[in-house]
């Protein structure tokens, strides 16, 4: 805590509260959420009231306060008020199973939970297993007594926020990786402020229609429980944009808000983009969507463009806070180059090992310094570089192309095949809307690719042999290795998803392993014609 009296210079810590220093000027700009709309002046006051409420419930600096809510103004207020008190904001992934939610709340030691009414049954079940949890504040959209809005209205409108060390932990959450248990990551005030500044400078300086401008209207489509919704709520607030919070993601609601509130900027994983495109019957322009989390396929980008959505690719992960790179494109860029992971944003160092193409390793002032578990941290950091576990190519101009997750790469016949590449080619077939390719163990080849595909709506599924022949053309043309053509291509009604909307390849692999005989027999039957000399 800095408490300077007399004639001494103020030592300015980089605290989340400082992002609000200049927002007074946005007194007519609105936050829209859950049927409410209020200005930035009101936002500031609501943040103070929330802190007053939490203090009255015993929250002190260093305590962990957890939130279970859909995207709302309440969540935005928690993004500020909780860390500004010196407490730690735990954003809970509400899509996880009850037991895993319990694990994350317990590991973080949450003392108070702000919980949407919808999740109360889950928390009720868990309560006995959460010895640290002292209070639960009920979140609903209305203002019934005893719930969030009523409590806020009764709380003091000025909270005596004070300064503290910028390296204090501001937020914590669990990565929802496709391997192993959720891992707890931490971000400090300094990290979040620096991420906000560097990403703001980049997004604001994008070519027209590919970034954020003061006149843009922002609506998240990456949940606020997931890596601070990629940091965009902090960015949008610092830049003074109109913000729209859509609650639980429902295509109809998202499209209605887009239209009613004039939303022009969102961000999300490809699955969300697909969901919105499938539900839209008319052009959605102007709408810029920052896409990340998984590779954006050129076909999905094209389909988005046809419906008026400009897609901009970004790259990052839970451990990196998250934004590391953002794409931009000129008229000469192909759709393929637009689907790269973009260019490193200011202050981000990237390298691959080996140089040119290899594991992507990064440094940035906002990446997590480790996990709660030391073992996992050791694997994350080596030689002072954060190891992303992604294989990437870095172009001479610094542009980054993610080849694959290391664990998703298929090593077959002595070659390394990118699952992402095969998936993109499969999705370029008119009958395929989604694709996932995994490795299946093979005695002869080490591994072999196996594809799961979802057909395009209203299109008859072609025989798998036709899709294999389609891919084989690219092998003949030298675009992919002949080894990259999967032996098996299986149609499915849908693909399993993780809690944040990525395709769950771990589950696909597990299921494939549980039926080894059937898989092997099919593979053996189809292998020869592809792998011949």
């Amino acid at each position: 805590m800095v408490n300077i009296a007399g004639r001494e210079a103020y030592s300015y810590p980089l605290l989340i509260g400082q992002l609000l220093a200049s927002v007074k000027q946005y007194r007519t700009t609105e936050i829209v959420s859950a049927g409410r709309r209020f200005s930035y002046v009101a936002l500031r006051e609501r943040i103070h009231r929330l802190a007053s409420l939490l203090r009255s419930l015993g929250v002190q600096a260093g305590d962990t306060v957890a939130v279970m809510d859909w995207d709302s103004h309440r969540y935005l207020e928690c993004y500020f008020a909780i860390p500004m008190m010196g407490a730690v904001l735990q954003t809970v992934n509400v899509r996880l199973s009850r037991d895993v939610i319990g694990f994350t709340l317990r590991q973080a030691g949450a003392k108070l939970l702000l919980c949407h009414a919808e999740f109360e049954p889950v928390v009720e079940d868990l309560r006995d297993a959460l010895p640290d949890l002292e209070h639960v504040v009920r979140l609903i959209d209305g203002d019934e007594p005893g719930t969030y809005e009523a409590l806020l209205a009764a709380a003091l409108p000025e909270f005596p926020f004070s300064d503290f060390d910028e390296n204090a932990i501001a937020t914590t959450f669990h990565t929802t990786g496709t391997t192993g248990d959720p891992k707890q990551v931490f971000f400090t005030h300094r990290q979040i402020v620096l991420h906000t500044l560097a990403a703001s400078a980049t997004l604001a300086n994008q070519p027209d229609g590919q970034g954020l401008r003061r006149s843009d209207v922002y609506m998240p489509m990456t949940p606020l429980f997931h890596v601070h919704a990629w940091g965009l709520p902090y960015i949008a607030t610092m830049l003074g944009l109109k913000q729209v919070y859509p609650g639980r993601y429902d295509p109809g609601t998202l499209l209605a808000l887009k239209k009613q509130e004039g939303v022009t900027f969102s961000h999300g994983v490809p699955t969300l983009l697909r969901m919105v495109l499938d539900a839209a019957s008319e052009s959605l322009a102007p709408w810029t969507m920052l896409v990340g989390g998984s590779a954006l396929s050129p076909d999905l980008a094209r389909e988005a463009a046809r419906k008026g959505i400009v897609t901009v690719c970004g790259y990052g992960m839970s451990e990196t806070g998250p934004i590391l790179s953002i794409g931009r494109s000129g008229p000469e860029d192909t759709i393929d180059s637009k689907c790269r992971a973009g260019f490193p944003i200011p202050l981000v160092h990237m390298r691959t090992e080996p140089d040119g193409r290899g594991e992507l390793q990064v440094r940035a002032p906002w990446v997590t310094q480790g996990y709660a578990a030391q073992d996992a941290s050791d694997a994350l950091w080596e030689d002072g570089w954060l190891h992303t576990q992604d294989i990437a190519e870095i172009d001479p101009d610094g542009g980054v192309r993610i080849v694959d997750r290391i664990k998703d790469v298929i090593k077959t016949g002595g070659e390394w095949v990118s699952s992402i590449e095969i998936e993109a080619l499969l999705m370029s077939h008119p009958a395929v809307s989604e694709a996932a390719v995994i490795a299946i163990p093979s005695k002869k080849w080490g591994e072999r690719p196996k594809a799961f595909v979802v057909g395009s709506p209203g299109t008859a599924a072609p025989p798998p042999q036709e899709l294999r022949a389609f891919l084989a053309q690219f092998a003949t043309g030298g675009h992919i290795s002949p080894y990259a053509v999967p032996d098996e291509i299986v149609f499915r009604d849908s693909l399993p998803r993780t809690s944040v909307g990525k395709i769950d390849k771990r589950l696909l692999r597990q299921n494939a392993e549980s039926e080894p005989n059937a898989v092997l027999s099919t593979r053996i039957a189809t292998q020869g014609d592809i792998h011949g000399p």
Copy 2:
């Protein structure tokens, strides 16, 4: 120095070198200067070569390296290479007198000086009085043996830059205030990086035509020796803009470069803007000019607009690193509101004492922590706020209007009159192009305003009585106090300027004091008709 080995997280210091982390992507963007043009890839290499050269001349971390040059690529390279070595860059105001230059070099303890051939006679004169100075490197536009370009070409193209404490001093220079001796200020790496990020986010996010976009071409018109040219060379480099360095400011050269290189963004004091407007015979659009240092009068802004220049006001001072606020305007804004000092940029706290209208006091993570002289620092900082010595009004929307410098305010007849306000009204008269109003001591009224004006080119100077009558209308209309109408209005061919182009009111006051009788007699003769009840 951080030297992490093994499995430990990288502790990322905010160093000026980190601003170059992502510039590899700008490999086709050019730096244009002194007849040369080269890419950002070459810029990076030249920075390494310069550091190698300086190391070979004995420069170590902690040493001070001074620069005396006009605006050039060399200066830009010094902005990076010197602080990146852990050395301190001293930017020397070459417009000061020989003795004052000697004072600043001596106080900073410069060990090596990079000196343009034009200033060698000055340095030759001073050499005996500079015991710390060991080397002088000659700067010329050509590449003769033994001069900058030749030495760079012979130096090693890779320098082993390493990390160090972000609170290390990066730059130092002397404020050229209109009172007292030059005062030495310091800026750390952390301060410069944070200024770069926050100002970049703001400028990039301005309304169209009022800020910086990736496609903009940047040319400074605030000298690089003055407060890091307001930080713009760092900003332009981090954002990857084409940059044009014009050497010594000559209107013909500036306009020729503007046209040839497609310059679209510059910054400077009102005097520079006037100089360019006077020299221009055709429209200069598109050209955005960030104007600061002194108040921009509505008439100069209008004249600029007629010639195609969009003026954007900014506010800051040498002590503040400098940018604190930047203006923006919509179609509904009047020219008057456009001439405000703008809105605080992210992370900047502003208050006035008393609240609403009073001395402007600020906090930002990049303002200087003090002067070399402790006494002066004590006056700068009080209660943890930096005292700007400017009187300001802060609007409910956070917009800032600078009323006057505290020492320029005129206390007359119990009222406080803003010299800036009277000057703007005088300049709105068609026969007046420039104006300066100072306070003259008065036994009866405490002080009285006195005006010095420069006539418009090609317009006959009206009798002073006509200008007084012109101002009196505004007093009658209630726009200004009757006390604000100067007793004396004197035509001059030009007004004295400080070394950075501001009107030198201190000199005007000194001269007025040296002729007290004449002034008093005129004042007494003209006072009655204005100050009647």
